[in-house]
Assembly symmetry: C2
Homo-oligomer: 305 residues x 2
Amino acid sequence: MIEFQNMLEKNSKEIDRFLDSHLPTGNGLNSKLFDAMRYSSINGGKKIRAYLVLETGRFIGAINNKTLSMSKYNELIAVGSAIEAIHSYSLIHDDLPAMDNSPIRRGKASNHIKFDYHTAILAGDGLLSWAFQIIGDSNFIYNSKKRSDISFVLAKAIGPNGMVGGQQADMDFAKHKSIDLNQIEWIQNHKTGALISCCSHVASILLNASHDQKSNLIDYANHIGLAFQIADDILDLDGNEVSMGKPIRQDTKNETPNFVTILGKEKAAKRALDESSKAINLIQKFKQGSENLVSLAKYTVNRNN
Amino acid sequence: MIEFQNMLEKNSKEIDRFLDSHLPTGNGLNSKLFDAMRYSSINGGKKIRAYLVLETGRFIGAINNKTLSMSKYNELIAVGSAIEAIHSYSLIHDDLPAMDNSPIRRGKASNHIKFDYHTAILAGDGLLSWAFQIIGDSNFIYNSKKRSDISFVLAKAIGPNGMVGGQQADMDFAKHKSIDLNQIEWIQNHKTGALISCCSHVASILLNASHDQKSNLIDYANHIGLAFQIADDILDLDGNEVSMGKPIRQDTKNETPNFVTILGKEKAAKRALDESSKAINLIQKFKQGSENLVSLAKYTVNRNN
């Protein structure tokens, strides 16, 4: 687990380096926007999604008996950074007063508190656009068909039938006491699951995974995405506000149904473990190189933040 | 002029048809989002940007002695529709209470008034993501290099160094009385100009324009973009609220500097005409097929909405 944490941290620094080098800076009329985009994306979060992109890529290399070349590694880092920019945009918008109205994120003031409301909206819009600029840039991804396929898969994952649709349903229905487990699962699969499974999908495109490899890896990501979310709900009840870096017991306070309030803590924990095991089984079908993805699946249910 | 208006209207219906066929619908947990995305994009606005995409494409065909094939026409309509979705997203976010706080747009309630604040934020995010899904879809654009190049050019145009950066500067500085003409021009070139010149750029990519053709057409678009904005400032002073479909005299009311308040109405009108003439000169260098782009350049300074 310590080795895993070290790898996660190493990856996180690599992504921060990419974001720091390539996000715009300046002292012109729009520099507050650049500051706000950097504030919410660099030096914050665990960059789990980028790690999943990288390790899926490494795994596909391993099962096809290829070590990852430097140029492939760089492509995975670029795509992972773009996905982390998207994730940061979604958190900035989720925290806005009109949405979850959350003043703290990743242990510091939310974007709209640190800057202001309009800057937070635009910083989210800016990170979203910038991500597609990175994905479309031939300096970062060398094959045009891959650039275009990744852009398509990512746009679908985060659009109205994916992440944004999940957030809409979360805003409109999650506080309804009548919501059931299937609906909560649907919301989470869209709101957080779609971007997580996209990570494995785009790595499969970059590394030319076979159809079978790709579909197993996407299923793996679906399972860890759900495990991750259920663990989040448990941490919302049991976790520590400091290590979480955001307010806890929000769901209890707001009487929002979640996996724990509906299933009870014990059944929820069992369900998270089940999802994690299913994920592990899917990749252990392939004989080699699965260690890091196994560690990631275990980590999703054994973390304190 | 009547013939031009008819062509503009025909194009607008074509774009509405595309949006109506391809934007998601549904009655699920996220259907309010779909309704809101449709509300602000279909049946509203003149779709000038999509018209510019189409006519730039037609013009490149004409100067290279090719008539537009049906498949090229369809590609131009798809890309024009994606750009109109982007334009609609930018209007939805601009109208939000934290931005321009505008209750009326295109003659009807703004998105956040018709729906609610969080839905308007997410409808904007959804339209933005959806546009990249369309551009990345091989059913709509057949060549993967073109898909990826268009996606890159569009992302740059609307990102922090383009449209979103212009809106940030507009929010932070446009109300400063000390702002000068150069700064206003910078803001407008980013806030509205970048997406307009992107229209000619993407059509140049789709139609394989030569380097010289492309750069002239982008310059043409830059000039009409500026002419369009100056004419808008004149209409803000002199126009009719009903035909404009939005509140007028906002800049006077808010004491916001614009081309008219800084230059005076007469000089501003002359500057708009100059920009329009420069645009016309650029395309009349090419001997044939320039009629519709000439009409568009004239229209930008001779409109009542």
